[in-house]
Amino acid sequence: MGASPSISIAIVGSGGTGALTTGNFLLEAASAAGWHGLFIRTMGPQIRGGEAAALLRLAVEPVESPPDQFDLLIGIDWLNAHRFGAEIKVGPQSLVIGDPRGGDAPPIVEKCGARVVEVPMKNLAKAVPDGRPNMVALGLAARLLGFTAEQLFVPVEKRLADKGPAAIEASRAAILVGFEAAAGLKFDKHLAPPKPGNAKRWLLSGNEATALGAIRGGIRFAAAYPITPATEILEWLAPSLTKVGGTLLQAEDELAAINMIIGASYGGTPSLTATSGPGLSLMIEALGLATSAEVPVVVVDVMRGGPSTGIPTKSEQGDLNIAVYGLHGDAPHLVLAPQSVGDCLFTTQWATYLAEALQAPAIVLSDQYMGQARAAIERPADVAFIGTRTAAADIAGPYNRYALAANGVSPMAIPGTRGGQYTADGLTHAENANPTSGAADHRAQLDKRRDKLDGFNFGDHWATVEGKGDLVVLTWGSLTSTAREAISRAADDGIKARLVAPRLLLPVQPDRLAAALKGAKRILVVEQTHGVQFHRYLRAHYDLPGQVRVFNRPGPLPITAGEIHSAITEWR
């Protein structure tokens, strides 16, 4: 088998064996050598003693979609590996390495015809003082993939620097033992060489990218209530905000978190919180308040399987409905969705800019897959979107906080501004902010809040629109990268297809989507929900020309490029 554009590796082990660490080191070494890569961690709900798997895809080109199947599967042990059976597909071409003392390989491995070999990782590790089987596995994988052992030492030394030279030496020795043990193993798939001259490279998760995007956009206050899989955003922000003169407050619950950021933003500080579906549900009432009082805030929802507690550690796109329709009353607001790990940075930064410019709340719909995946990517470009609010200054005479400005955005007095005193209110109010139940004021302010969003020019960032062809794959969020790969494979089969993926979900952009879909004869809607939420959203707000098919599936298993590719090629 010749050089491949990408190789996929899975490393599994029961909780605490260090499978995830092994995967991270491999990704770091590959990234340092100039390849691109994606690391997905998958685990059960247990904090310790459960099961964990590192799912890794290394590639010559940027890659963010999950592999159809794995070329190499290493089971440091198989104790709980059966729980991943459906997630880690292997085939007749795959190599599976297990430890003779690690239990029986899951039945799915036996059935698929993969080549299974045994390497006594545990025993080999024992021969090294303080050696760990996962480092032996790392050495094995390194050699099979064509790395030198030294290439793995670099990330290991970096990570273990604070544990002292003995820990580093133990890991190095264990890696070398694994490296030697791989000498006799046959694995003839290898990565094509990396492309030279890559720009500055970053290795980060979608959640980290989200947090950096927030700060770049001007966020200087965050309220935090921990929830899987959004917590990393808040944990990255805690020290980082302090560095830039901002602050983070841990809230007692999500109700407090959303109200804290409304209070901070009312005081003039761009503010954000991050949560997942259950938390967003609790925040919805106050998002209506932010809409009515015209206080900009950003809420990132890293979607997980739902409803209710659902599957906290797995991905789904099922919060689209609540983000778009959850608010009671007529409450125009912004909903955006990043499309890749790197785009989490851009979209959150843009959302912050838009919220501040339009004095409206913005919901950013990330998901567990993208949020917790780590990717080696090119450094996202700097963009000029920095949140700037139209503030009222030098107020002489009566101040109307909610004046009916032509573009709907009325200057906002920040507390401390003399003459600007007003009471922000969830009650229907008049232009001067005083409560009213009058029909004319109610209508005028509803119009104002609608028109300021509908009249804004969102520019080309509203969506990804790529390629040509009368077949369109219409998708959103993290599936954008997967659909792109599927379209690229279809091109190899001679099928031309277009990719259309809105980044801006609210306010809707019917004219722009109509232009993007011009000439389309077939539209394949792709989404990861059970209830076809995206398709229903499209039907409610847009005209879809030609024939429409929907490929949808709930979580927890990510939709693969192979599945979308099949849906394209089978539609004749």
Partner: protein
């Protein structure tokens, strides 16, 4: 008593807006509004540097009746909103207004954590032992035998004791006032605003519409026989055993308020990127 300079640049009227209150004639909250404006004038605070934050209910209408900045938010969440405001704008004076339903029922959890967090703000609860805006349902402080349409024959539940909860949760200043005594309430407000950390004032404020029996409160209230203590143990004994009509400052703690540094820095944001660079 307060030692505030009384050569005032501001008069109470400077803190009053021209919005007409929705309160019933005779409502205790009118007096609370008077205490607010007197206290602000005594403190000589520019109205634009005060923010009055509230939730939902009759008492929570107070921000718009002042000439300060205000936020009339959703039901029960005023303390959280105020916390976000104060930590990012420590230069502002933040006063939170609530009622017994808003503050002790739907907002109960935030009350605990605001006391514990001890951010420098003043929390005023106008307690009338009833949900007035929704026309007379029992609140957490309603007496067990009080008959309402929602609780025929009474709730038969033990009333919530806000002062004890505040003390146990870490409030740094605890007082009880009677709305009808405007001068004393204003004086306590002045001290509460000046005292560092989270100050809690329970104001007995009668609802003459749904609790006409509360008109008797003016005869039941009496000034606390001894001054404030800074000993939480003594304060606990005192507020757990008094008759509920003992007014004045009951506890004045000395915990340092929570206030993170929020000074703007000029670091290059690219420094934050170093974590990610390969």
């Amino acid at each position: 008593m307060s030692t505030v300079d009384t050569r005032l640049a501001y008069k109470p009227a400077d803190y009053k807006s021209d919005v007409k209150p929705i309160w019933c004639p005779g409502c205790g909250d009118y007096h609370v509004l008077m205490s607010f404006t007197r206290a602000f004038a005594q403190l000589g605070l520019p109205p634009e540097n005060i923010v009055v934050v509230s939730g939902i209910g009759c008492s929570s209408r107070i921000p718009a009746y002042t000439n300060c900045y205000g936020f009339h938010g959703v039901h029960g969440r005023s303390l959280a909103l105020a916390a976000g405001l104060k930590v990012t704008r420590p230069d502002l004076t933040v006063v939170v207004a609530s009622g017994d339903g808003d503050g002790y029922s739907i907002g109960g959890n935030h009350f605990l954590h605001a006391c514990r967090r001890n951010i420098d703000m003043t929390y005023v609860v106008m307690d009338n032992h009833i949900y007035g805006m929704t026309k007379g349902q029992p609140s957490p402080t309603t007496e067990p035998e009080f008959d309402t349409a929602l609780s025929p024959g009474g709730t038969r539940l033990r009333p919530f004791h806000p002062l004890v909860v505040a003390l146990a949760s870490g409030a740094n200043f605890i007082a009880r006032c009677f709305s009808g005594d405007v001068n004393e309430t204003a004086a306590v407000l002045v001290e509460a605003i000046q005292h560092p950390g989270f100050s809690f004032i329970e104001i007995l404020s009668p609802c003459v519409t749904f609790r006409p029996d509360e008109k008797a409160w003016k005869d039941l209230v009496h000034a606390a026989p001894v001054g404030a203590t800074n000993d939480p143990g003594k304060a606990a004994r005192r507020i757990m055993t008094d008759d509920g009509f003992n007014t004045g400052i009951l506890y004045r703690g000395n915990r340092a308020p929570y206030q993170p540094a929020v000074e703007a820095t000029n670091i290059d944001l690219s420094e934050l990127e170093k974590d990610f660079e390969l």
